[in-house]
């Protein structure tokens, strides 16, 4: 059992720990889930690259003992696209945050899904800009308090999983920091799926979000995640009225939310065909 032997520890740069995240932060849970999923997949430290953007989530790459790339704000997916196309044999994982992926990097997120490059994108969604001290993100709920929404947010959040599906991601899943094993399983399934895989992990930020929104302790935030996350099969069994009531109560489904029915050609495989066609053409 990986859990008991802590065999995942070899995937961390021990000399770079402890991490800089606040006590009670959920990012460590998601980071550990990623390396456990890598172990489960049998990917090695030599054939796996971790790419991140800017923000709290994106500092994870520095702690992980692989080839790692801490890019510019919002740009992790384009960098990862370049790596994967240049070296298709490498496994490429993107770690991003809700500001990084859904605000400044929103366009890259959409087109990453559309292009269907074989990447595993893990969104650490803490509903806030943590690194800059608690400003509202595109995932901050309506009415949520942040330093830039002192009277409550009037900007509507959106569902990144719906966006990913609509834009063409071939695997879309969600989990939370409360559901540790489930999160690992979702990420591992995303890694196993060829094409653009998107996994939203809801993680707690007690320092910048919880304290301003009546959940100052990490335990309270985890409890909120437990009480509001509904496993996908149970969610699907809800009747219309019940589902409406759940949504109004901020409940949400977790699990595999979308998987392309027939395996679609990922970008790299499709580009191999381009090369074949080009080389068949006389100059």
């Amino acid at each position: 059992m990986a859990e008991l032997t802590r065999s995942y520890e070899k995937y961390f740069r021990q000399n770079r720990l402890p991490h800089l995240w606040c006590p009670g932060c959920g990012n460590g849970i998601a980071m550990k889930a990623i390396v456990q999923a890598i172990e489960k997949q049998g990917w090695t430290q030599d054939n796996t690259v971790i790419v991140s953007g800017i923000g709290c989530s994106s500092r994870a790459s520095g702690y992980m003992d692989f080839d790692t790339l801490h890019t510019a704000h919002g740009r992790a997916i384009p960098f990862a696209t370049g790596i994967k196309l240049a070296r298709p044999e490498l496994n490429v994982v993107v770690i991003t945050g809700d500001g990084d992926c859904c605000a400044i990097g929103g366009n890259h997120f959409i087109h990453g899904c559309r292009r269907n490059v074989d990447l595993t994108v893990v969104l650490f969604n803490n509903a806030i800009y943590g690194m800059t001290g608690g400003q509202a993100s595109p995932m901050t709920p309506l009415g949520g308090k942040a330093t830039t929404t002192p009277y409550g947010s009037v900007d509507r959040p959106f569902d990144p999983c719906h966006l990913a599906k609509a834009a063409g991601a071939t695997f879309v899943a969600r989990s939370t920091a409360f559901h540790v094993q489930h999160m690992t399983d979702m990420i591992a399934q995303g890694m196993a799926s060829r094409g653009f895989s998107f996994i939203e992990t809801q993680v707690q930020c007690p320092t910048s979000y919880g304290r301003r929104n009546k959940m100052p302790s990490p335990a309270e935030m985890l409890k909120w995640l437990q009480q509001h996350a509904v496993l996908k099969p149970a969610w699907d069994r809800l009747d219309r009225e019940k589902k409406k009531a759940y949504i109004l109560d901020h409940k949400f489904p977790i699990g595999v939310l979308h998987q392309a029915k027939r395996p679609e050609l990922d970008y790299d495989a499709a580009y191999d065909q381009v090369i074949e066609r080009a080389q068949g053409v006389k100059a």
Binding site: R16, Q45, D46, N47, V49, V51, S61, G62, D65, F66, D67, T68, L69, H70, T71, A72, R75, I77, P78, F79, A80, T81, G82, I83, K84, L85, A86, R87, E89, L90, N107, H108, I110, H111, Y271, V274, I275, R277, A278, Q279, V281, A283
Partner: protein, 386 residues
């Protein structure tokens, strides 16, 4: 010997990139650079390389940097508005020391400006567009054949110094068609990707500078487990908040290029042996300046042309020597006046330095430059504007 071919400047750029070993190109369409992307889309897959059209200019820059870190030789091409969008990631490539070539086929600005009209208004943006202190290498070819050679040179410099190199083209040369004979592949010198000289067990540090101050950063997927960041980092590649590391890394980024500046700065002189006056120019404008100088020589005026192929680092020494020799320098550039300030600085008051600028969508006519030469000569001889 290859046969001569009628070729466009932008086409020569794409062919030069392939000859230099570029195997990955990401781009976004923008006039007047688009033909480069179109050519790369056609040529790269034939060589087994890859072309990807990204969702915007920032993404294209990100994709080439990722591919470069994974071992590819990379290029991207754009024009003014796209060049503005790329600035943050140009700085990323400087700081993280990622080899890449970015072509800017200049058009009239600011903003959307005049998309199809020629200009040389990005000269200063090339140097200072990204934030913070940083060095820059930029080459500005004046002919189709030189575009081919300068593209190869740009790729080689990017690899040798692990830095972004800008190929500063203009619409005149980009869309110019000339008959050119390209060199045989064996005649082309290629600078290979730098490789680590130590193993991990021997204490390899990816950003440890070699004797030329350039680090031998391992490519991804080679088992070195390196970390790359745009934060200021030490030799290990990991960010540090130290004043000493910040100072020494910013200094090294500059010095690795400045110590080689005599090799990087390429200039050409025409009619300069006994010249009392000089025109300094670059890119497409230098073609007209050449015509003007030739005409003035035929009229008996002692004037020559100094053409800068390398626009950054600036040809300080060459300009300083020139200023000692001549009575006046006219800087011909297709903008409101950018290079003229650099020439004045480098000339250090040793001779008159005047601007011959233009920014009305049209390239220069030789007579316009001739008139400005005459004016400068008149003023200097009268002791007016020195």
């Amino acid at each position: 010997m290859r046969e001569a071919r009628l070729m466009q400047g932008n086409e020569a750029c794409a062919e030069g990139a392939i000859a230099a070993g570029v195997d990955f190109f990401a781009g976004y369409p923008i006039t007047p650079s688009t033909e480069i992307a179109e050519m790369m889309a056609k040529l790269l897959p034939k060589q087994g390389g890859k072309f990807v059209q990204m969702e915007d200019e920032i993404a294209a820059m990100g994709a080439i940097l990722g591919a470069s870190l994974a071992g590819s030789k990379v290029m991207d091409a754009t024009s003014g508005p796209g060049f503005s969008l790329k600035q943050e990631l140009i700085g990323y490539a400087v700081c993280a020391e990622i080899p890449c070539v970015l072509v800017d086929v200049q058009r009239v600005g600011p903003s959307t400006g005049q998309p199809t009209a020629p200009s040389q208004g990005d000269l200063m943006q090339v140097r200072w567009g990204t934030h913070g202190d940083h060095p820059m290498i930029a080459l500005s070819p004046w002919s189709v054949r030189e575009t081919y050679d300068a593209t190869i040179m740009a790729v080689n410099y990017a690899e040798r110094f692990r830095t972004p190199v800008i190929l500063l083209m203009d619409e005149m040369v980009g869309h110019l068609r000339e008959n050119v004979t390209l060199p045989e592949p064996g005649e082309i010198e290629i600078y290979p990707r730098r490789k680590p000289k130590k193993t991990r067990a021997e204490g390899y540090e990816p950003f440890e500078p070699d004797t030329d101050l350039v680090p031998n950063v391992a490519d991804f997927g080679e088992g070195y487990h390196i970390h790359v960041t745009g934060l200021i980092h030490d030799d290990t590649g990991f960010p540090v908040g130290s004043a000493q590391v910040t100072e020494s890394s910013i200094r090294r980024l500059h010095e690795k290029i400045m110590r080689a500046s005599d090799e990087i700065v390429h200039t050409e002189s025409y009619f300069m042996e006994d010249a009392e006056y000089a025109v300094v120019s670059f890119g497409g404008t230098a073609r007209t300046a050449y015509e003007a100088v030739k005409n003035m020589r035929e009229q008996g005026l002692s004037v020559g042309l100094l053409r800068l192929l390398t626009v950054w680092p600036f040809a300080d020494k060459v300009i300083a020597e020139l200023a000692e020799k001549v009575k006046g320098i006219l800087v011909a550039e297709l903008n409101y006046g950018q290079m003229v300030h650099e020439v004045r600085r480098a000339a250090g008051g040793k001779c008159a330095v005047e601007l011959c600028g233009k920014y009305n969508m049209k390239s220069f006519e030789p007579v316009e430059i001739e008139a400005e030469i005459e004016k400068m000569v008149g003023d200097v001889e009268k002791g007016g504007r020195a």
